[in-house]
């Protein structure tokens, strides 16, 4: 069954890659949305900011949809348990997220200032709330989530909505938001000039600075949290249910992987280096370099969390032995193999045509352009 | 050279279509029908649009000819 275990690990890594893609690409658009009201003082300025991401937000959002689809396909039990367990939070995420496409398409259709102002608030909410939820969901994984299963794998969530808003989760949520603000600022810098550029520059530095502080804070905090350790399990690459393992909770246990494999410290290092680099690049007005460093920061931050949690994906606080790991929640070998085939073919293709789309639409967006193409611009 | 590239491109597409038809025809005949049918619907509709232009031009010519006669 070595092949099955390999596939499981590959899909765990691929899911990580998709979440990083989501964080970078969706995070930058949401960052632009979140800072829209502050980076743009006039309507034209705000429209410039929106049109910088205008041709791409739709494609970028598919990273989110793909992330959801990949969890569903590769780790159905995680999808089923997490989405239903985090019910109210998920609704919050969904309701704010579904306003965003409408914001892009509908905001500039009417000239009314009140109408546009309303949608600008929508951009703020639909940028900030999903990013906070995204980070807070990760934060909650370190705490464990109150769920358990019955014999037939019906999951029961026994916590409350407020339980998901614990301090560590909020810190992670704000970390995720600050990274989005940083990326949003850098993206606006890439596509705008003048006052817009300067304000975006300030916000990008602010986002990076807060990000560094919170990432450090979470890193220290995690020593005090109970980490999950697999005591016994049917094994890797063995078809199983989450009812057949035993798990212990040890204080500081989330650092066990780092102690065992010191090379993993490269992940948090990449996170800090990326954020610090992005901050300096923003200060030096080198926004393209800053954007790539910001992407590195996301990779480092998500990689840090993933490396700490491995092999856990959704720890249970009600009954730690029912925690979901990649070994007990993944799809069958056949599904993983087929999906891998599709991913190997299509992910490079997607990266290629996405890059082409960015290349075609490269350059700065100007006020002139917006006023001339009033009817079609966002 | 340009023509040659197009020739190669279209040959690749043609071989691809034959391959697709052979595979889909056996197991997914309706999928294949969709591909062919969609192309047909789109092209007939496009041809219909182009035909309208021709019809209008003819109508204008005919009107002009009648005006000349009178």
């Amino acid at each position: 069954m070595a092949l099955y275990a390999t596939l499981q690990v590959i899909w765990w890594l691929l899911l990580g890659v998709l979440l990083m893609g989501l964080a970078v690409m969706v995070g930058m658009d949401m960052g632009v949305g979140a800072i829209l009201r502050y980076v743009g003082r006039t309507d034209v300025e705000r429209r410039i900011a929106l049109n910088i991401i205008g041709p791409h937000w739709d494609g970028n959002q598919v990273w989110f949809i793909l992330g959801g689809g990949a969890i569903f396909a590769a780790f159905p039990l995680i999808y089923a348990t997490a989405f239903s367990g985090f019910y109210v939070v998920m609704l919050l995420l969904l309701w704010t997220m579904i306003m965003r496409p409408l914001g892009f398409e509908y905001r500039s259709q009417l000239a009314s200032a009140a109408w546009r102002n309303l949608w600008d608030w929508v951009f703020l909410i639909s940028g900030a709330v999903p990013m906070i939820v995204f980070g807070a969901a990760f934060g909650n994984l370190f705490h464990g989530v109150p769920f358990h299963f019955t014999w037939d794998m019906t999951s029961y969530y026994t916590g409350s909505f407020l339980g998901l808003l614990n301090p560590f989760a909020i810190a992670s949520g704000v970390l995720s938001l600050s990274l989005a603000v940083m990326m949003g600022g850098l993206t606006v810098m890439n596509g705008a000039d003048g006052a817009l550029f300067q304000r975006a520059r300030t916000l990008a530095q602010l986002g990076a600075g807060v990000g560094i502080a919170l990432f450090a804070l979470c890193g220290i905090w995690v020593h005090a949290l109970g980490g999950y350790q697999l005591l016994s399990a049917p094994g890797q690459g063995v078809p199983q249910t989450p009812l057949q393992q035993s798990v212990a909770v040890v204080q500081g246990g989330w650092l066990a992987n780092y102690t065992a494999h010191p090379v993993l410290w490269l992940m948090p290092l990449a996170g800090f280096a990326g954020m610090a680099g992005a901050l300096l690049a923003a200060r030096a007005a080198r926004s393209h370099l800053g954007w790539w460093l910001g992407a590195l920061a996301w990779i480092g931050v998500i990689g840090t969390a993933g490396a700490a949690l491995f092999p856990f994906m959704l720890p249970s606080s009600t009954d730690p032995s029912m925690s979901l790991t990649l070994w007990n929640s993944s799809s069958s070998r056949t599904t993983l193999a087929w999906m891998l085939g599709f991913a190997v073919f299509f992910v490079p293709l997607i990266l290629w045509y996405t890059s082409w789309a960015f290349w075609v639409m490269r350059g700065k967006v100007t006020a002139e352009q917006i006023t001339h193409d009033d009817e079609h611009a966002y | 050279m340009r023509t040659f590239f197009y020739f190669v491109l279209f040959m690749i597409i043609a071989v691809g279509v034959i391959f697709l038809a052979a595979v889909l025809g056996a197991r997914g005949a309706w999928y294949f029908a969709w591909l062919v049918g969609t192309a047909m619907i789109v092209l007939i509709s496009a041809a219909g649009g182009a035909l309208l232009d021709t019809q209008e031009e003819h109508a204008i010519e005919r009107a002009a000819a009648e005006r000349d006669r009178s």
Binding site: P55, D58, G59, V62, I65, L66, G69, A70, F72, A73, A74, P76, L77, Y79, T81, Y87, V88, M90, W95, I98, P101, L102, Y106, Q109, D152, M153, T154, S155, Y156, P239, Q240, T241, S331, T335, W338, M339, A343, F346, T354, A357, V360, K364, T366, E368, D373, H376 | G28, Y31, A33, I41, V42, I44, S45, A46, G48, G49, A50, L52, D53, Q55
Partner: protein, 537 residues
């Protein structure tokens, strides 16, 4: 194990209403993207600027619609996990794969290129832009393909088997999943139904302009193209509808019995219920108008074929339930003790009826001594709500035939180039706009209500598929969706009607460059180039 019945009902209402809502926007995108591809193909081959105006105008309406399609599609992707978590865990191994592939193969392509389609007019050559438009069209329809592959697994679970080691369904054959006969005919049926929707929409809006004598040249061309597009698509919809019925007769006999309101089995050739008033409680029709021979002919394509009635299907279900009970009991043993060989043998002997064991668990949760009354009750559950399915089906078919008749007339007049003088036909065209939308919704109802009481046909009953939420949570989310979606549709309708009333002329300043290039790139976008050029008035 037992999920509150009210929660299940509320979950069903939420799923049905959000899916029906989503399905208001999707078909228009499916069809309008290909109609745009047709329009732009004419533009690129003839070089006439009016076709570019058409492409940009219909493209703008497409975007207004697309935004809501995307937004409400997100809801659907979430909802399997949030509200149907048992279902998602139970069949995610199979059902999740097409959804993920949809993202990889289709939705990424559609969404990336739709941005270029809208914003890339000045940045791409004509050929490139045409290719982008075609890719958007294929992307949106391939999306539909994978979603319907997933849906067809629920209708006809091919290529999967239950694994007692993991307590869930697992994929056994990917080929069987994608070449599922139900998926094939349903995908083509749905996709071309989208073409019909777009054709009626474009024809209706064009007719509105001709009636008001505005943008007549643009409207005439749009109408012509839409009418040809629509007549062919309607023929295809009806053909594939028949193919789908043929498949259903084999794989979902209960759905077919409900669609045709067949309570009692009859010898061939069976009569067709043109109109009937089915009563679920009395298991019969309270009056029906019947056409002799027609049902056998329609459904089995022969005079000697028969369709089993509800009575025969329920008798069969009793046996399946009796065989399903030991399957569930063996599974309970295996959950505690995966190595138990006796339980595994018992399970394997009855595994094909596992779903029927779940079905009766609704009335006998522990399955220890199931009474014949409980079995009968579960057996009666296998029939979907007959009256609703029967009438949805009739509405769909009647509207389909109406649209066929409409398109034939429209094509006749538009080919003679007389359409702009036939005001009765133009008025009718405007009134036809809601028709395909109603037919689409009715079609969804036939397919998904007809699948009841199962989420996965014959495998997983609806009553146990939902998440274990409280009624309060479900009421909260349902109200949230109700408020949000009502606001959305009001805004969408307002903007759509406004964009139509403004019309294409309001779009650019005629004579001026449409949209100046981004300065840094001026050489790429020379306004003097034949395509970047001027609008003809």
């Amino acid at each position: 194990m037992m999920i509150n019945g009210t929660v299940v009902t509320l979950s069903r209402i939420q799923f049905a209403s959000t899916a029906l809502y989503h399905f208001l926007f999707v078909p228009l995108t499916l069809g309008l993207s290909f109609l745009l591809a047709a329009i732009e193909t004419v533009y690129v081959t003839t070089g006439k600027p009016i076709y570019k105006d058409m492409a940009r105008f219909w493209g703008k309406l497409l975007m207004i619609n697309f935004a809501l399609g995307v937004a409400t599609g997100l809801t659907m992707e979430f909802q399997f996990g949030t509200n149907w978590s048992f279902y998602s865990g139970f069949v995610g191994d199979i059902f999740g794969a097409p959804l993920a592939i949809e993202g990889l193969m289709a939705f990424f392509m559609e969404s990336t290129f739709i941005g270029l389609m809208m914003f890339g007019w000045e940045r791409l050559s004509r050929g490139q832009h045409l290719a982008v438009t075609w890719l958007v069209a294929f992307g949106s329809n391939l999306s539909a393909l994978w979603i319907l592959v997933a849906n067809s697994f629920m209708q006809n679970p091919h290529g999967a088997a239950f694994d007692p080691l993991t307590m869930r369904m697992q994929l056994t054959s990917f080929q069987q999943l994608i070449f599922n006969p139900d998926a094939q005919s349903k995908f083509v049926h749905t996709s071309v139904a989208g073409y019909v929707t777009a054709a009626i929409f474009v024809a209706g809006v064009s007719a509105y302009y001709m009636l008001r004598n505005r943008h007549v040249e643009l409207a005439k061309r749009s109408f012509r193209m839409a009418a040809l597009f629509g007549v062919l698509a309607t023929i295809a919809v009806i053909t594939l509808g028949d193919a789908l019925g043929f498949v259903d007769a084999r794989v979902q006999p209960t759905k077919l019995a409900a669609m045709e309101a067949v309570w009692q089995s009859e010898p061939a050739p069976m009569p067709f219920n043109l109109i009937a008033f089915p009563s679920q409680a009395r298991r019969e029709n309270l009056g029906a108008v019947r056409v002799p021979y027609l049902l056998s002919l329609l459904v089995t394509h022969s005079l000697s074929g028969t369709v089993p009635g509800a009575d025969a299907l329920e008798r069969r279900a009793v046996q399946q339930i009796e065989s399903g009970i030991p399957a569930v009991q063996a599974l309970k043993v295996l959950a505690r003790d995966p190595g138990n060989a006796a339980a595994l043998a018992e399970f394997n002997a009855h595994r094909k009826d596992l779903g029927y064991g779940f079905l009766v668990q609704r009335y006998a949760p522990d399955l220890n001594d199931v009474t014949p009354a409980q079995i009968d009750r579960a057996a009666r559950d296998i029939m979907p709500p007959v009256a609703a399915v029967f009438w949805s089906f009739r509405v769909m078919v009647a509207l389909g035939l109406l649209m066929l008749a409409y398109f034939v007339i429209a094509v006749l007049y538009t080919l003679r180039n007389k359409i702009h003088r036939k005001s009765w036909l133009l008025k009718m065209s405007v009134w036809m706009i809601p028709v395909p939308f109603i037919a689409n919704e009715a079609g969804w109802l036939v397919a998904e209500l007809g699948r009841q009481p199962w989420t996965v046909f014959d495998v997983l009953p609806t009553w146990m598929s939902a998440s274990t939420h409280s009624v309060a949570y479900m009421a909260f989310s349902l109200i949230g969706f109700l408020v949000l979606y009502t606001v959305f549709i009001a805004v969408e309708m307002y903007l759509m009607v406004r964009a139509i009333k403004l019309g294409p002329a309001a779009h650019g300043d005629p004579g001026g460059p449409r949209s100046p290039p981004r300065p840094a790139l001026a050489p790429r976008v020379a306004p003097a180039a034949p395509y970047g050029g001027k609008l003809e008035g």
